[in-house]
């Protein structure tokens, strides 16, 4: 019997003006672990509106738990923050019409004890940031973090994961029996998650947004640990590579984030 790890996870809907921090944004290892879930994981819609959606597979929901579900307001709207695809259907994520560009970073606590899954960026182990980076609180935080538009991201993520798969096929050996599973990876301080299928034949990595108030996800700790160890075996500064893919704005954003990280880290520990 696989042990289940349950998380009841809260976020908010941007439309409602609450922070879209869909995570308990604490720079702790436990928090990082909570966010790497195996999604064989049913995301349980509690919103009756979403439940009524007439779609072949329900979207990964993000609903507000209140009577008025913002999903209905945003579903299908080009200005909306649509949720990602369903885990089973692979529909791609939504548009955020904002032209802001950003980059993602991992949130690995360098002092973590026996393996904790890493909250990864782009599906790869990136440079670590000191765990003492405190989340930037408040609704304004997202603007400062300059979140990415998901739509242009998807092909990039696809390219990244296929490149890694080509360069380092032994990663799949390390992941072992868990390559058939699907992982939701949640970078800290980022208003979206990544969905990773580490299938050696057809690796897939997508971004997805979450705006949920209550979400129940169940997962397998062992697979998460295994993935983390496998990804940790990658060399090089993947964050730099990803930033390069975004061009100068990406590199600037990465530099900004690193400065932010340094600033928040009272110990002055250089994350690079």
């Amino acid at each position: 019997m696989q042990p289940r790890t349950k998380l009841i996870w809260r976020g908010g809907c941007r439309h409602k003006g609450t922070s879209t921090k869909a995570v308990c944004a604490h720079p702790s290892e436990g928090a990082a672990l909570r966010r790497v879930w195996l999604a064989n994981a049913r995301l349980v819609p509690h919103c009756r509106h979403c439940a009524e959606q007439d779609s072949p597979s329900p979207p990964v929901v993000i609903y507000d738990g209140r009577e008025e579900c913002p999903c209905r307001a945003c579903f299908g709207s080009p200005r909306g923050n649509l949720i990602a695809s369903s885990l089973s259907s692979q529909r791609s994520g939504a548009l955020d019409a904002s032209p802001r560009l950003g980059v993602f970073q991992s949130a690995v606590d360098p002092s973590q004890s026996p393996p904790l899954p890493v909250a990864v960026s782009g599906g790869m182990a990136a440079d670590t940031i000191s765990s003492s980076i405190r989340p930037l609180d408040g609704p304004g935080a997202l603007l400062r973090l300059a979140p990415v538009p998901l739509f242009p991201l998807q092909p990039l993520l696809g390219r990244i994961v296929r490149k890694i798969a080509a360069l380092r096929p032994e990663i799949f050996d390390r992941i072992g029996p868990h390559t058939a599973k699907c992982f939701i990876i949640d970078p800290e301080n980022m208003p979206f998650v990544l969905v990773l299928h580490p299938d050696p034949e057809r690796p897939r990595l997508r971004a997805a947004l979450f705006f949920t108030r209550e979400l129940v996800i169940e997962g397998d700790t062992e697979a998460a640990v295994c993935l983390r160890n496998a990804l940790d075996d990658l060399d090089g500064s993947i964050a730099d590579d990803i930033a390069d893919m975004f061009g100068p704005p990406g590199r600037a954003a990465l530099a900004l984030l690193r400065r932010v990280g340094n600033h928040d880290d009272g110990r002055g520990h250089d994350p690079a």
């Binding site: 349950k6 002092s111 004890s113 026996p114 670590t128 700790t221 075996d233």
Partner: protein, 338 residues
Amino acid sequence: MMTGEDTIRPELVCPAGTPASLRAAVDAGADAVYCGFQNATNARNFPGLNFTLMELEHSVAYAHKNGAKVLLAVNSFPPAGQTALWKQAVDDGVRLGADALIVADIGVAHYAATHHPEQRLHLSVQAGAPSVEAIRFYTEEFGIKRVVLPRILTIPEIKALHAEIGCEIECFIFGNHGLMAEGRCSLTNYITGLSTNMDGVCSPAANVEYIEDAQRNLTVKLGGFTLDCFACGAMAGYPTICKGRYMAPHRDDAYYAFEEPLSLNLAELLPDLVKAGVTAFKIEGRQRSRAYVKAVVTAWRAAVDNIMAGREPRIADLLAFTEGHKQTQGAAASKRWR
């Protein structure tokens, strides 16, 4: 402060959970790295961790090219009927050029000593040999050249030991602070059915659960037993039985019955350790991230070099790495710890 005349430069022995970590450690200045195969033959048998034969071969080449040694851990205990796997690990380690094998089981030590008499053998902390006589048992019977001491001895004890045993001493100086007598702990097996001593697992991930309630309190369980609970915001580590919090009949509070999650950090005691005769310093952490290894080894490389040159090491830098951000010097500083 070191004067350098009668003191030899201690070896910095660093953990490598993956080939990338090994390269990171070597690049950061490790004198030796220790690692294991991807099976039950070593005491860090975590999913996705450790080395294949080919990876070890390449790693040995890389390390040697950069002037570092590779120590292969074959330090768990084969159950009856399964000794072939451990013997294979010994044979492979020798064949692939490991500079030393770290062993614990008497049968494995005997096999290595008789079949590969030229191979350098180190005694793992898993052998649990904290006394002169215990160590001599291994040096005399198997030709052990170095003993990794349990983390429970004071510096005067280490010094006294050094005077009486005929082999080198390797000491843990940094990392997870282990308390239970190594190699003789069945706590994990009691709760999960997997054995630390035979399967090389402590708190296997497959049996770990994190459960968050409506108030965002995080309960951490192993094998269905609650080991700890963290209020929202508190740092939640990976659960091990010996670092959990429990209730005792006469106490109102839940408390760390065995040990708090602390990290060992003997930076300030380095000069004393060298004077006591310690020839190698071991950093714990094969399950840590590559980035951690790189950062920690770099810092310790600098610390050791500083001490050998008579300068003060920058100890504050190491605080950030310690688990739970709390440190201990463990037994090394005084017996009060016991």
